[in-house]
């Protein structure tokens, strides 16, 4: 187990360095936006990674509701938390990109707005997990995750239609993408997926240990009182 983790950590570090090089130096400079466009190589893969993580959260929540498997619950919590971290990156890099290109800090761009709503939903999920006093918090959280997932297509369509009525700047690829840029984009995505895996693995381990400690502590206080 430990060795796998170390290998993943090394591979991730190497991939991230390579991806950084590709993004900053090897990738061709975009014509209209110049070098600022390179933010794209961090902004877009972070969004895709966040979406993958939220998909994992949805699936593990369903598995938990069906089987009440503790590992599924821990995976749901982990993927939600790491997903929120990646979402935060998207929400910070987006405005930093929009400012020099469009002169505004925010735009109701489809991807950016969808990311904002997902961030809100999953932060509320994490807060529920923290504030819940029920013994069956995992069940309640899983139900909320299902609600969030059901909401996503509705959010997508509502923003899409809103944009057709209120057109606003699009952050990122207008449409066709230079194949060399697509190549760099995919490399960065692979690097971020590895990073996400690493972060999830760490968080998962942590949660596992935390729960073992809590159980041991509960057992100990039970034994103390029965003495």
């Amino acid at each position: 187990m430990k060795r796998g983790f170390t290998i993943l950590a090394i591979v991730t570090a190497l991939l991230l360095c390579f991806a950084l090089y590709e993004a900053l130096i090897a990738a061709p400079t975009e014509q209209t936006m110049g070098n600022v466009q390179r933010i794209f190589y961090y902004h877009v893969p972070s969004a895709w990674t966040a979406f993958v993580l939220f998909l994992i959260n949805f699936v593990s929540s369903i598995v938990y509701l069906a089987r009440r498997n503790v590992k599924a619950d821990i995976l749901a919590l982990t993927s939600a938390e790491v997903g929120v971290v990646f979402c935060t990156v998207v929400l910070i890099t987006g405005p930093i990109w929009a400012r020099p290109v469009w002169g505004i800090w925010w735009t109701w761009d489809l991807r950016l707005t969808l990311t904002l709503v997902l961030w809100l939903i999953y932060v509320s999920y994490l807060i529920l997990r923290r504030f819940s006093t029920s013994g069956k918090t995992p069940v309640i959280a899983a139900v909320l995750a299902v609600f969030g997932a059901l909401d996503v297509p509705l959010v997508y369509f509502s923003i899409w239609f809103f944009r057709t009525q209120h057109p606003s700047p699009v952050i990122g690829d207008g449409g066709s993408l230079d194949p060399r840029m697509a190549h760099v984009l995919l490399i960065n995505w692979a690097a971020f997926l590895c990073l996400a895996w690493l972060l999830c693995w760490t968080r998962y381990r942590l949660e596992f240990l935390k729960r073992e400690v809590e159980e041991a502590q509960a057992l100990e206080s039970l034994m103390e009182t029965s003495r």
């Binding site: 709503v117 529920l128 069940v139 509705l154 509502s158």
Partner: protein, 224 residues
């Protein structure tokens, strides 16, 4: 007893209880009036501008009034340990939930019905589009808020900071519905675009979440 029988019985009980404690209802209505007045002082547009922003204003006011109302309705159940009674009773949880949602729908609907003429007066509102379409928008929008609101209010019962938990959970999930209500209302008032897409979105939202709430409430009630 069938689903409908249980729903009807529970709903009748809730309405009777609500009617007996008219204080809560009156306080709620006064709160709604205050909201309208404060909004009218804060946003004082011309008649032309008001048509564009009234949709958003009215629905935000309804949203906050609804949250206050929803927080109230479960609080009474908690005080009298009604939830434990629900859990022990052989009746399935779903019709009980549905009755609660219907009761809330009526309660919030009355509040909205009282706030609306005030808004119309303060903002000199007049629909340039098909005004009758505002009724389905109102019904669908209110149902969207109430069905999820009742569900999340039940979830919030087992959390710290219960009152803040409800809007915290409700608002993000309601974003597509809010977009729908606000834009449909604005479209009808300004008469510029058809509200049809937004109404369809509200219908889809209501169907999806009513189904989800009815199917999953049992799990929430059991979570002790």
């Amino acid at each position: 007893m069938s689903f409908l029988d249980i729903t009807r019985a529970t709903l009748a009980k809730d309405i009777r209880l609500e009617w007996r404690s008219k204080d809560a209802m009156n306080a709620m209505l006064f709160f709604a009036l205050l909201v309208v007045v404060i909004f009218s002082f804060s946003f004082d547009p011309t008649a032309e501008e008001s048509r564009r922003i009234a949709g958003g204003l009215v629905w935000v006011a309804f949203l906050f009034a609804a949250v206050v109302a929803l927080n109230q309705t479960w609080a009474r159940e908690l005080r009298n340990q009604v939830l434990d009674a629900y859990r022990i009773s052989p009746a399935p949880a779903t019709p009980l939930f549905f009755a609660k949602a219907l009761g809330n729908f009526i309660f919030v609907g009355i509040i909205e019905a009282l706030m609306t003429p005030l808004f119309v007066a303060f903002y000199k509102l007049r629909a340039l589009g098909p005004g009758w379409e505002l009724l389905p928008v109102g019904l669908l929008g209110t149902w969207a808020l109430v069905i999820n609101g009742t569900f999340f209010a039940a979830i919030s019962l087992r959390t710290r900071s219960r009152e803040i938990m409800l809007p915290l959970l409700l608002f993000p999930i309601s974003i597509p519905a809010i977009l729908g209500m606000v834009n449909a209302t604005t479209a009808i008032l300004t008469g510029e675009d058809p509200a049809r897409f937004w109404i369809a979105l509200l219908v889809a939202y209501d169907v999806v979440f009513t189904t989800a709430c009815l199917l999953l409430f049992e799990l929430i009630l059991e979570a002790e």
